[in-house]
């Protein structure tokens, strides 16, 4: 791995003399693997500096009619495994229960009848039975209501922790999609402002594509 970084740095120094240390992760994905000749480089490939415990994601547009392959690579300092998930954001209608504050009038006993008359609006009639009348005061009540709302939900399509922490994924979609690639570096999240060298490193996500066509003779 050290050798790879050295090659990257040497190459960088030869042609890009102003690359600073801070830019070292940029373009790391180009060095993840030698892509098969029949595959084309996809310009949505990404690289980022990550620290242990960090999750970062990017959006990837994939066309129907194309086969894609993703290769992951990282510096040894944050390896050997990365958690890699693919998901879609899905707008769904969901029933949401919510509480509404309302006010209702406090009812009192009919004064004229000593609480035993019948109530009709503001008046009390007769002194038989039990009657109530509005007191003019209000109290707060909580009413539960249900409403259908649209909500963006995350639907996971792939999780490499269920696939032996594979660092490669080949996929195709039957319709054009906007996917999200989520990468997590396992480990404790450091609270220190100054990150230690062995807690951080570069992560590269190289993507290749090829138009899918009929295989065989």
């Amino acid at each position: 791995m050290l050798k790879r970084i050295s090659i990257v740095l040497l190459f960088g120094l030869m042609i890009c003399p102003v690359i600073s240390y801070g830019q070292m992760c940029n373009g790391m994905h180009h060095y993840c693997t030698k892509m098969p000749k029949f595959m084309k480089y996809n310009s949505q490939s990404q690289s980022a500096l990550m620290v242990k415990g960090m999750t970062s994601e990017f959006s990837l547009m994939v066309y129907k009619g194309q086969d894609y392959k993703i290769w992951l690579c990282m510096d040894e300092s944050i390896g050997p495994d990365l958690i890699f998930k693919v998901y879609e954001k899905v707008e769904r209608e969901v029933k949401k229960e919510f509480e509404v504050k309302e006010y209702e009038e406090i009812m009192g006993e009919c004064p004229e009848c000593g609480g035993s008359g019948e109530n009709d609006g503001d008046q009390c009639y007769g002194c038989e039975g039990s009657g109530t009348i509005g007191t003019g005061e209000e109290r707060e009540i909580i009413i539960k209501k249900t409403e259908v709302v649209k909500e963006m939900q995350t639907e996971y399509l792939y999780d490499n922790s269920e696939d032996n922490y594979s660092m490669e994924l080949e996929f195709a979609a039957d319709q054009t999609k906007k996917l999200y690639i989520q990468i997590t570096v396992p480990g404790e999240v450091s609270n220190s402002r100054l990150k230690k060298v062995d807690e951080e490193g570069c992560v590269g996500v190289l993507i290749g594509h090829i138009a899918n066509s009929k295989r065989g003779f």
Binding site: C16, I19, S20, G65, D174
Partner: protein, 277 residues
């Protein structure tokens, strides 16, 4: 010396601030945005429509493009034209586009992206269709790599925006009949996904050149948001080692919306390539 340099040297950054910089480069919702190269859309179009060279932006003297914004934009437009020609295997024109792109690469300080090995591949292999497409893709990769490694994301943003507008201009003009052609209209509607990513990418930069491009693109957002959204049941399963993704969200575009979109795209392309830059 061959160069692939940043526009402003910035070599004294503090190591400790590095992680924060990466974080702040993300969009508001903490997500990075990928922009596909124009070639992917043309590969799909090739299945239905014939090559029309009149849709490519004519090769002209690039000396008139003096600012880095103008040069980046015309560079993106020509890269898209090259991809279009390469997908349709147009050797002669592609050679001319390679030459003008090389000239612009020099102006943009990207000469290392067009090294001798690439030039020799172009000369030797241009008459093999697959190679033409591969070389076009490799040169796109080489350019983006050079820009990425030099932290020139703002140049990538301009190149990608112009490249996408040019590919949309070609795609919308390639569709000769809109009646009973819902599949292709929906193919154009799918570009809503790319538009969202592009706007997200542009949103990471706040320099004047990018802001003005973003403003030009806003009108497209209104149109894309008016498209009817539909859903097909989703599924994902591994078949023979390959993950097959089915269903999901898709958009439906009416012929009226298509005509409207075509007009907006032509207007933006005119702004980008014309005197108003």
């Amino acid at each position: 010396m061959a160069s692939c340099a940043s526009e402003t040297a910035n070599s004294n950054e503090e190591y400790a601030t590095e992680v924060e910089n990466i974080d702040s480069a993300q969009g508001e919702d903490n997500i990075y945005y990928g922009i596909p190269s124009p070639e992917e859309m043309f590969v799909l179009m090739r299945r239905n429509e014939k090559f029309d060279p009149s849709l490519q932006f004519p090769i002209q003297d690039v000396e008139g493009y003096t600012t880095s914004k103008e040069q980046s934009i015309i560079f993106g437009i020509y890269l898209s034209d090259l991809a279009y020609g390469a997908v349709y295997e147009d050797f002669e024109q592609s050679m001319k586009y390679f030459k003008v792109i090389e000239k612009l690469a020099d102006k943009l300080n990207l000469t290392a992206a067009f090294n001798e090995a690439l030039a020799s591949r172009i000369q030797n292999n241009l008459k093999t269709p697959d190679s033409l497409l591969l070389i076009s893709n490799d040169s796109y990769r080489s350019i983006i790599k050079c820009l990425e490694e030099n932290d020139r994301g703002n140049t990538i943003a301009l190149v990608a925006s112009a490249g996408w507008i040019e590919s949309m201009y070609i795609a919308t003009n390639l569709i000769s009949t809109i009646k009973d052609n819902q599949e292709q209209l929906n193919q154009i509607a799918e570009q809503k996904f790319l538009y969202e990513n592009l706007m997200g990418y542009l949103g990471q930069y706040d320099d004047f050149a990018i802001k003005s491009v973003k403003e030009d693109l806003v009108e497209l957002g209104t149109l894309f948001n008016s498209l009817e959204q539909k859903e097909k049941e989703r599924s994902s399963k591994k078949v023979g080692g390959k993950l097959m993704l089915s269903g999901g969200t898709y958009y439906v575009m009416t012929p009226e919306q298509f005509v409207n979109l075509k007009g907006i795209i032509a207007k933006i392309r005119g702004n980008m390539t014309g005197a108003s830059i």
